[in-house]
């Protein structure tokens, strides 16, 4: 069957098997290997991407289900050569070690910050509780999300200050 999917803002049309999983479509058909496969049973979240506006585990979504939809992967977080604050945060706070779970963790965290700009550590832990990291013990992932929240808040304050400076 032929599907058309917008991935990170670029449209792709491909003929695929109906059974093809979205994670394999992204990795094997499009060569976007930043999203990882980790468990088959939607427990680990290494494969999390956004389908339209929602994080999904792409090992349990068929590529066909993404037909006509938008997908955001880790490769789409960086804009115009500038890392998303959540990417900066994970590097700054040592929120990753082997890096295998990191793309999924960052995409869920990005969604959390978009919907809850000032999450508490408990809210962060709850939001990430469907994903597994085997290296960090989660502590520095929580700190990373807090770091991004605080830097985004500071950036918003700067923007507000700037807009107030604009003469009428």
């Amino acid at each position: 069957m032929e599907i058309t999917v917008s991935v990170n803002g670029t449209g792709y049309s491909r003929v695929v098997e109906p059974r093809l999983l979205l994670i394999h479509f992204l990795r094997d058909e499009l060569g976007l290997t930043g999203s990882h496969w980790g468990c088959d049973t939607s427990n680990c979240g290494a494969c999390v991407v956004w389908l339209d506006e929602t994080p999904v585990k792409s090992c349990t979504v068929l590529a066909a289900m993404a037909d006509g939809h938008r997908v955001l992967t880790v490769e789409g977080l960086e804009r115009d050569g500038e890392l998303d604050p959540i990417q900066q945060a994970f590097a700054e706070c040592h929120g990753l070690q082997c890096g295998f779970c990191t793309p999924g963790m960052m995409l869920t965290s990005r969604w959390l910050l978009d919907h809850c700009p000032d999450p508490s550590p408990a809210q962060i832990r709850e939001a990430l509780s469907g994903q597994i990291c085997r290296c960090t013990g989660y502590e520095n992932i929580v700190r990373s999300v807090r770091w991004a929240a605080e830097h985004e808040a500071a950036a918003r304050r700067d923007d507000d200050d700037d807009s107030q400076d604009v003469p009428e």
């Binding site: 394999h24 900066q88 040592h94 295998f100 990191t102």
Partner: protein
């Protein structure tokens, strides 16, 4: 120097207010390059630009898949591959018979046993490799597995290690000549007679039986390989998830008869190892044979169930402990008898002379008079492995045993477990200390670490809170553990793996502009070697870590060494890197002397430069010297040019990191649910090169400890069906099961390591399970519960409260 009590209290109160780091002594940062440098690796990982095994795509690459046994023990009557071979997308179907024709149906294990690559006679555990399909894509390869018809004749199964030596037990390894039972080895350490004498004279002897159940490292990336046999050049290149690329190369050469210089092993980015990626797995061999047969590159990546059911498990130690003491709590002696379940093939990865790994470093951190341990290894119809999962070659099991025994003794004597430990810890003046089984601990200040952990925890306050809660029928536990690890294997006269001495190389090339490339033999799986090792060299040469590229994980580009496991990277390769840098510095001194027209003896190394004594104006940096060494400068006699250097580091001893952990739990007696409220970890790993990375390693290990203590077990039913074959059944801790870790540190440098470092990779995994279990059992004391085995799931805790703790590793009615 020890901090004063008021300093400790101040640190402790800060700690409770805001999770941070508490330091008892600050290390001296040599050269200014040590410190929480942000990782070089992260630039690629946060962009999704890492290269993990399944990210590798080669032109014309085929995909392999393994057919596995559904039965735990069965004779293979026949294998019919005709339908699979006829599948239009299939390029090859390989069976044990195909491999036998090449002499590859069996391969040696790291414990001098053999393991079937693809079964020829019998299958011996559920999930064992039976056939291998090579197809044009990964889905077709899996489709074709369904078309292979294997006729099995089921055999009786042994999954309970305690029954493996029964006379009527079926013999699993009838492939081994003369084998009539499931016995693998008997092994002992310590002085049995002296221990008997100590026990005979003791006021108190406490015994305990405990299981350290079968667990699995479960790195988030499973194991896999991409093999490319270039028939024109005769060169075999294997990208594989290996923690030990050089050792794998040599073993492939020995097993397959390939010339070693025609084998290149590349370990790309590794999505976590934890010991799971030390052995050679049948899938790797199959991918290699697949490439030989088809003439095209072949990729094989296992799925999660394959990873959990067939690759190297951990633990599975049935332990009986006895501890002898005086009535006032002076520990005198320790005994242990262990039944070790090694699965169907003895594939434990450890120094070959030590069949129970370093389990016999089992007297822990205590000053006792005598000790003796015996370990018996047996075969069962379970997956092979045993030494994996950040276990410091089984010191994890040893620490769990002694720390549980000390708690049982405390309960017997009605003493506080922290006080009992404090009373018996080795004292700083006893180091270097030779333990009753003959190992020389290099350095330590144990009481200081325990005091700091108790201060951070607010220990007396916690005990008061607990007493109040007990009166109200609330069950709060405070668990203490103290551990000593021996890491950095190891001195080559004592330690080898299949004859390969456990020394590691480093080579350091300094380019004319003063930028350097360090080649190391170990391999990062997330530990941040590209950063830490650059810091080691930078500190020695007065460079910035940014000026040093660390090359690892490619046997054609790095010096030989045994790889990364057993917390040996910093302890062995880190030492090699420092020594290579010091050799560079020595060569640079001679060149600098020519540049400055003075004698080398007139130069001193100061502030990252060779300087004429007393004259800071007359100095040269490594960068300036490197350019001169490559220039037309007339070099002194004996200097060949360039300042590159290489070395091989043969450690004189293990290093002995240690730590004190305290876990606070709340237990719901109605449901059996355990909540970890706080976890305090004070670690001493000697000098910390990058404290940010060290703390990250501790965090991860603590989560492992929580997982093993409360959730993780690979159990089996009576037919040998694996009950932990997916993440639906094998439960790993997530962000909500883990508390916010509270860390502290003391620094006792290793006296024999060139930079005083000891290694940290496994400390928390070794030390933390006992703290969690001690905490839960402390909570359950009012119910008279003496012991319950890991994992302390709600069902197990509830059953223990009812007086019926579960056998956690078996589902046999």
């Amino acid at each position: 120097m020890c901090p004063s009590d008021s300093q400790l209290s101040a640190a402790a109160s800060r700690r409770r207010a805001e999770p941070a780091r508490v330091t008892a002594t600050a290390p001296e940062p040599p050269g200014g390059a040590y410190g929480p440098v942000r990782r070089k690796e992260d630039a690629r990982f946060v962009r999704g630009k890492g290269t993990f095994i399944d990210d590798i795509q080669l032109p014309g690459m085929l995909h392999g898949a393994v057919l596995r046994s559904p039965l735990a023990h069965a004779r293979i009557v026949s294998i019919d591959t005709a339908a699979a071979s006829a599948h239009p997308m299939v390029e090859a179907v390989i069976t044990g018979d195909t491999l036998a024709g090449r002499g590859l149906a069996w391969m040696p294990t790291l414990s001098q046993d053999v393991q079937a690559v693809l079964a020829t006679d019998k299958v011996r555990f559920q999930g064992q490799e039976v056939a291998f399909v090579v197809a044009q894509d990964r889905y077709s390869a899996r489709d074709a597995l369904e078309l292979i018809n294997v006729d099995y004749e089921p055999l009786p199964v042994v999954v309970d290690a305690t029954r493996a030596l029964d006379p009527q037990a079926p013999v699993i390894r009838d492939d081994l000549p003369g084998r009539t039972d499931n016995h693998i080895f008997d092994w002992e350490a310590g002085d049995a007679a002296a221990t008997d004498a100590v026990f005979a004279s003791a006021d108190v002897v406490v015994t305990g039986d405990m299981l350290y159940p079968r667990s699995h490292p479960a790195p988030l990336e499973t194991c896999g390989a991409v093999a490319r046999m270039d028939k024109t050049t005769g060169k075999l290149t294997v990208w594989s998830t290996t923690q030990a690329p050089h050792a794998h190369r040599t073993l492939y050469a020995l097993v397959a008869g390939l010339p070693e210089h025609k084998i290149r092993i590349i370990s790309p980015d590794i999505g976590g190892g934890f010991g799971n990626k030390v052995p050679i797995y049948p899938g790797y061999i199959c991918a290699i044979v697949g490439s030989m047969v088809t003439g095209r590159p072949v990729k094989w990546v296992e799925d999660r169930s394959e990873n959990l059911m067939s690759t190297s498990f951990a633990r599975d130690y049935h332990m009986h402990g006895e501890i002898a003491a005086t009535r006032d709590g002076r520990i005198l002696g320790l005994r242990a008898r262990v039944l070790a379940d090694h699965g169907a093939f003895n594939g434990a990865a450890q120094p070959t002379k030590f069949p129970a790994g370093f389990f016999h470093i089992f007297t822990g951190s205590y000053d006792l008079r005598a000790a003796h341990c015996e370990v018996t290894g047996v075969y069962t119809n379970k997956a092979p492995g045993g030494v994996a999962y950040s276990c410091s070659f089984r010191i994890t099991e040893a620490v769990y045993l002694v720390e549980r025994m000390v708690d049982l003794l405390a309960a017997e004597l009605d003493l506080d477990p922290a006080e009992l430990r404090m009373k018996n810890l080795l004292r700083p003046e006893q180091f270097p200390y030779t333990c009753p089984t003959g190992w020389e601990y290099d350095s330590g200040d144990y009481p200081r670490a325990l005091r700091l952990a108790m201060e951070i925890a607010g220990y007396p306050e916690l005990r008061r809170e607990q007493a109040g809660k007990r009166e109200r029928g609330e069950y709060m536990g405070i668990g203490v553990s103290f551990f000593t690890e021996g890491v950095g294997a190891g001195p080559r006269k004592h330690m080898d793996i299949l004859g390969l001495g456990m020394a590691d190389g480093a080579d350091l090339r300094v380019h004319p502009t003063g930028k350097a490339v360090l080649g190391i033999s170990c391999q990062t799986q997330g530990q941040g070697h590209e950063t830490t090792f650059a810091q080691i060299v930078a500190a020695e040469l007065g460079l910035s870590p940014d000026d040093i590229e660390v090359v690892h994980g490619d046997t054609d580009r790095t010096p030989f060494g045994l790889g990364t496991y057993g917390s040996r990277s910093t302890a062995v390769s880190g030492a090699a890197a420092a020594i290579a840098a010091r050799k560079v510095r020595d060569r640079a001194r001679i060149v600098a002397s020519a540049m400055l027209e003075v004698s080398p003896s007139d130069l001193e190394w100061l502030n990252g430069r060779w300087q004429v004594r007393g004259d800071p104006e007359q100095a040269r940096t490594i960068g300036e010297i490197a350019m001169a060494a490559h220039s037309g400068l007339e070099l002194p006699e004996g200097v060949e040019g360039h300042i590159d250097a290489s070395t091989v580091y043969n450690p004189p001893n293990l290093t002995y990191p240690f730590g004190a952990y305290i876990c606070v739990t709340d237990v719901d007696a109605g449901t059996g649910e355990v909540r970890i409220r706080r976890f305090i970890a004070v670690d001493d790993c000697g000098v910390r090169i990058n404290p940010m990375i060290v703390e990250g390693q501790v965090h991860g290990g603590l989560a492992d400890g929580v997982g093993m203590a409360l959730m993780q077990v690979i159990a089996f039913d009576a037919e040998g069906n694996c009950l932990g074959g997916s993440f639906m059944d094998y439960l790993l801790p997530t962000s909500v099961e883990c508390p916010s870790w509270e860390l502290g540190e003391t620094v006792t440098p290793s006296p024999h390591h060139p930079i005083g470092a000891k290694g940290i990779g496994e400390s928390a995994t070794v030390g933390s399970p006992a703290a969690v279990v001690n905490s839960v059992l402390d909570a359950l004391r009012p119910f008279g519960v003496r012991h319950a085995d890991m994992p302390l799931t709600p069902a197990n805790v509830w059953s223990a409260i009812q007086g019926r703790p579960l056998r956690t590793d078996l589902a046999i009615t």
